[in-house]
């Protein structure tokens, strides 16, 4: 078989690859506990969120620790479950373009009670923070997908 055929086949597969990639999203998440302490403290893993955690509604607290973190690949229309230290979350990629992701996020608390059910269209690479009051402290799930 001629080399030109293989070249053409490689080209077809190469151009088809981005189309396949459109059905996925790469996500990183951080589960964060927020509390108040005598001295401010923040884990190094939270450096990308440092400035944001000093603004309301997070500025009520000054101690931030990472409870869990991880990476997951979302496949379109296939829900992914994230097991958190305090509860759990389900993420669903409904659709995406180069710059926007249509996501459905549900979060349950440690008792399994639904806390949040959200559908949104977010910018790729932008941080999405979901938080709730747990007594005097805060519980935050930070998520970024691209």
């Amino acid at each position: 078989m001629s080399g030109r055929f293989w070249l053409a086949l490689a080209f077809v597969l190469g151009t088809a690859a981005p189309a396949l990639a459109d059905d996925k999203a790469e996500c990183d998440y951080l589960e964060i506990s927020a509390s108040s302490g005598k001295d401010a403290a923040m884990d190094g893993a939270l450096k990308p969120l440092e400035k944001k955690l000093k603004k309301p509604p997070f500025s009520s607290w000054n101690v931030f620790h990472t409870l869990a973190s991880g990476h997951l690949t979302l496949v379109k229309d296939k829900p992914a479950t994230v097991k958190l230290k305090q509860g759990g979350a389900t993420l669903l990629l409904r659709d995406r373009s180069d710059k926007r992701l249509e996501l459905t996020i549900t979060i349950d608390d440690a008792g399994g009670k639904r806390v949040l059910d959200n559908k949104q269209s977010a910018n790729a690479g932008e941080w999405l923070l979901f938080g709730q009051n747990v007594g005097d402290n805060g519980h935050i799930l930070a998520l970024t997908c691209k």
Partner: protein, 174 residues
């Protein structure tokens, strides 16, 4: 050979007209003999010409018969795919070229309409925000047993969307 004979040959071949020579019966016999000889040679050559292709065809068919007999018939998925591509190579190449042209056009248009950025006003903190920036769109938000608030945070590290849920019992407690 006499000059007389050459003239008779020319006459027999139709090259020149020497009809006056044919009054001699011997000359006429010679012309007839030359004509018969010519017919014999022409017929022999035509038969030879017909015989050569026939022999060659016999050889070709023999070869084809041998090929069919010795080579097993190829089959299978991969053979089918490759055969299809070979048969429709022209279509495939046309499709590939078209796809390449469309991809190139898309890249060119995308580059032309590149994102414009502007500095954030007011504070002069050098925070660069894309002019085409679209904030996160909340399509639906349900927080059973609590109230929700949506914040849009902006800083040097980029924008962020915050959804904060305040349980009802906390609201009542405030």
């Amino acid at each position: 050979m006499k000059n007389h004979d050459i003239e008779l040959m020319e006459h027999a071949d139709g090259e020149r007209d020497h009809a006056d020579r044919l009054r001699d019966p011997v000359a006429r016999q010679k012309v007839d003999a030359i004509g018969e000889l010519g017919e014999l040679v022409r017929g022999h050559l035509e038969l030879s010409a017909d015989a050569v292709p026939a022999a060659r065809f016999e050889q070709i068919w023999d070869k084809v018969d041998k090929e069919i007999a010795t080579k097993p018939a190829r089959s299978g998925l991969w053979f089918g795919i490759t055969t299809w591509f070979e048969r429709y190579r022209g279509h495939v190449v046309t499709g590939v070229v078209s796809a390449g042209a469309v991809a190139a056009l898309a890249l060119v248009l995308r580059t032309t309409h590149g994102e414009t950025t502007a500095k954030g006003g007011g504070g002069g903190n050098g925070n660069v925000i894309p002019v085409s920036y679209r904030p996160t769109e909340i399509e639906s938000l349900d927080t059973p047993g609590g109230d929700s608030t949506v914040f849009n945070l902006q800083d040097e590290d980029g924008p962020a969307t915050v959804i904060w849920v305040t349980p009802e019992d906390t609201v009542e407690g405030i």
